[in-house]
Subunit: 367 residues, 4 copies
């Protein structure tokens, strides 16, 4: 169960960065969902490296194949196997990286845990694994389109290093118009210069990504350990390089008083409750309120930088290491589609879990 | 599986705030661990209300009984059932609270999800549930004492509302000397006045709690969804009122460059690696490095305040509500032992999971 | 997860024969199901010892209490905790049984596994644990009454030792009219004499129990490891003393030819398929057909007999042992309500699992 | 979780009979186990069709590839993905089979459940899925070779239709010398004629397979729902066409008295307990005793026979169907390596689960 997530819609990812292939085994897919590889490829292409000068220049086709669970363009309810072959397996020299541990990487901990590791391209700990999540998230999106029409999932960057967006500028229409997936056009311009500088100096920087689920029904999530916020937190924290996760006000909630924080409740014109604000991020007691579900996560700067760092070898000798070659100056950019995919998986899983226990009928209708 | 957490050491909590009892069913406890109720009571007493004027004045004995899984003072390897009877079930009038949804509470979402809810004292969504976690965490601590001698788990408050501690002042010896479990004696003094004011005005405020696991072996955690940081994040986010979780640098990692963030590696005198810093919070690639494991979480201010708030009734009519009676001006205080307990459960579970897959022998010894 | 079963409707049992109490934590209960302790007591009373001279004369009240998950007579969707206090904890002398391993009992294997065991009344391995299952099964029955009206679960004995029923005599109305829960009145008379003889000589004998689920919808079960027959087999095999499980033709299917075994399909007048026979026991490919679901299991004779047996002590010395006191000459009798309870839990769980993945709407309607 | 089994060593199979490929995702593999595809191919070749005139003449290469989790010939502890491409995907006409339900097949139930099915070669319900299990079982065997040297797993047929073996003739050396994997050379001769007749007449017949695990340590298994017998029963019942599962005496235990059934205990010369007999099949209270673990299962006759059968079409019209082409007159033969593989997976999983909870040290040593 170590490489799986989800209760009903259950995703197990497998594969190493430079092995023959990687992918995801997706169980619990509702039957009758239209599905073709091209639908998943759409999302994978957004995560693919080399899309702009701000992401790694590695060339990976990241072409996904569906090996099972689909018949004549529809899911059958049996496991869907997704496979992405690794085409960039160049016969590169990994001897240095195999001997020394890169600071800030999982090299040392895989070694400490297993006593063996696949050093090629980071092996299992490579962010390439997130391609499998994005593909699985694509299935979740198609199922959501059938089960919760109108539900929308949007991810975007709200911070790059020291530069945060101005929330007054948020315009979702801007997200697709800049290479950073940010809804603040002004920030996009600032970030372009900022990241260019970092990129040229061989440095890297962190980022914050926000994912909003709009139009999710109220009632998703369950006490106590299958809370919707718990599962979103786990989903995001499981992404490579993520160090913090927030729901609604997040860490800032600590600074508020009860008066400032509570979202008052009114009756909407459509017979559904509306709230005066959304400090809660759309979740109360672990269960969705029907408001926007807002989750945010930080991505640390990649440790692959051109500055020489101190480290040790496998035999414990002091050493120095410098990462050569292609890297992402801000891996947070490519984390945006990954965050969206994880949100899609969690929301679908909870829709299914909810109808398992409670059914499809309306509950607790107010008014 | 909705009320359970953990893989091998698996805790299922049950019970409502004002039902006959609440507790935890704890499966996967290693056999032969010395265990008596008094060992668990020690930790429960720290979470118990009414310990100082800064916590709710409710009187709950919170006395834990062990109903199974222990024979002659030792665990037998079979499930340990922990029960805490609810002695403060006063025949109180819940009619108002049963009719109106309190803003910021789970009242409305339980109703939206299930179409039925137990309104007495918040039912299942009450923070009283965390007593069961603290008791289960006590078992985890005893097992850890046997399996990982020297391992230490310390939780403390680092922020109360607008006031953060000065990290230069951190002194673990101070933690037990103030009612806020803070390691900064100066902050404790400031907070006392601050919280007194909030308490008297019937307001409330949020907090940040940090939990450190010192002396955990390297190698705990597993790709990809059983990462140690993923599971700590889930554990903390599942605690009532938590809105954000951070590992190491947390959200702040987004503001750093790669040079600032990477922890360089040296060889320690005891043949184990040491690191120049701990931005990673003791976890790389989801696996522990042997450094301090550092997790932090924010707790929102309780929504039970003396200010009147707008809300609606079950039938959708506009209404106003004000919380009467006893409440915690800063629930974060009582979250400290809860955070420690969750950390204990996660670490033990991963020790067991590690020896399942990898065994007890040394792996990847360096030097 | 070692003491739990079920996916959505998940039952975790806990407790030892002579500890303070035993019970079951039942998660995933649909909300709004009418539930009171008396509804569960009804089923527990059928399993209770001392009902006739053919079952053990121990006196156990087996009174079940509901500690959580129910409000004003309805389930709330939160975990239901069921507790049965052990009132027959006489200060008996267990010193002999604590020193020697009883042949055919779990005494030796608990010792081999854990290095510690609770010898009082068999501890966790006692059949008293099945009381918790029967109580949990009672919840499943109430939920099934709401979700699948008309569904009926009947268990009965088809063999006692060398005496099997005549299937031509099966009449469900007879089941309640004899102390053996057998639908064959003629067999009941034979068995009475047979068991009386065994009982008086201090011997014991095995039995076969058949459980039929009538009126279950088609479509329950799922490939490959959540097949309905797989889960029923696991459920029954987990009952104390069970050594064999059969679906439909069971072991006898090996003796048939393809012509004899296949159930031909016709169209029923109600627009549902009917079958010429039911060799399959209502399950094809792990999924229910809509026919009677037929599961059968054998129960070995209890090892508690008055004949002296060879054994060893904890320190490996040769020894002899004889079981004194009260015992069941045919424990299979009391296994009937247990088998029914397990079937109820499995069927409910699969109803919930089915609506999770597929929903509540009709699928694959024929005609 | 519907297509997965195992707790720590967790196998998820995927794929349809005539899709692009099928396989297994194997998580929880211990690191450092020598593994190459050829080691798995050895076991797959035993299950492969067309090995003798007694199995289907279909030609499938059943060539397994390892796509992940192995580096330089050793497992790394990350998921191992096994893929078997379907090379026998002839552009066959499935229109008849797509319209009519074959009696005794899962055609109708997949349709009833999902409202969609992949009719090509039986889709997910085809016994081709068991190839993935055999491959996964090969990994389990390699891990067992490292963790439990001397442990041996042997499967063999004990019944073909009306002909049972004579247990006095059992000689394991005979198993590999006849096409039926039977240890009774006399039976092999009888069966050859018998099956030849059935095959020529286009009929089919059932079988009983016994799997013995010799040399497993005492202490494997756990109360109550992870009992070793429970899990073996589930593992075997999940195999296509299996209708009954027995441990030790199995269904026959019902016919015994307590005196006949109990295995007396003595002290062995090596300081381990020995037993006078093995009615228990090596398991007491769900935990292994150290004796041979004996599990037996029946396989029904394949429903693919040359006799015309009554059925209905998808639109509910009466119809007739006859299976053309290649089939197995006794599918039980090819179930032998499958049963062995499932036993290997269960035993390894429980070795890992045991060391998770109890550790690797000796427990409950007697003498």
């Amino acid at each position: 169960m170590m490489n799986s997530f989800g209760h009903i819609f259950r995703v197990t990812t497998w594969g190493e960065s430079h092995g023959p292939a990687l992918g995801a085994t997706v169980d619990g897919v509702p039957p009758g969902v239209p599905l073709e590889a091209s639908m998943l490829q759409h999302w994978l292409d957004r995560r693919k490296p080399g899309q702009s000068k701000y992401t790694t220049q590695r060339r990976e086709a990241d072409e996904v194949r569906i090996l099972s669970g689909v018949y004549e363009g529809q899911t059958t309810g049996t496991p869907v196997q997704l496979m992405i072959e690794n085409t960039d397996q160049r016969s590169k020299d990994y001897s240095e990286i195999a001997e020394k541990f890169r600071p800030g990487h999982a090299d040392i901990t895989y070694w400490q845990k297993y006593g063996i590791r696949d050093p090629r391209g980071g092996g299992r700990s490579s962010a390439r694994e997130t391609a499998a999540r994005v593909a699985a998230g694509g299935i979740a999106r198609e199922a959501l389109a059938a089960l919760a029409p109108g539900l929308e999932i949007r991810g975007y960057m709200t911070r790059m290093g020291v530069h945060e967006i101005d929330r007054a500028n948020i315009d979702w229409d801007q997200i697709e118009k800049n290479p950073f997936w940010t809804p603040d056009a002004t920030a996009a311009a600032t970030w372009a210069d900022y990241l260019d500088g970092l990129r040229k100096s061989g440095s890297s920087v962190g980022a914050v990504i926000e994912v909003v689920v709009r139009g999710a029904p109220a009632g998703l999530g369950a006490p106590i350990y299958a809370k919707l916020d718990t599962e979103l937190a786990a989903a995001m924290m499981s992404i490579n390089a993520v160090k913090g996760v927030e729901i609604g006000e997040g860490m800032g909630a600590a600074e508020l008083t009860g008066e400032e924080n509570a979202d008052e409740i009114y009756m909407g014109e459509d017979g559904k409750p509306v709230f005066s604000s959304n400090h809660a991020g759309g979740i109360l007691g672990g269960i969705s309120t029907g408001q926007d579900i807002v989750v945010r996560f930080s991505v640390k700067p990649t440790s692959s930088i051109l500055t020489t760092r101190k480290t040790i070898t496998k035999s414990g000798e002091p050493a120095e290491i410098v990462t050569k070659g292609r890297h992402d100056p801000c891996v947070g950019i490519r984390a945006v589609p990954v965050g969206e995919a994880m949100a899609a998986c969690v929301i679908l899983d909870h829709l299914l879990l909810h109808r398992a226990q409670v059914g499809e009928g309306p509950r607790g209708i107010i008014g």
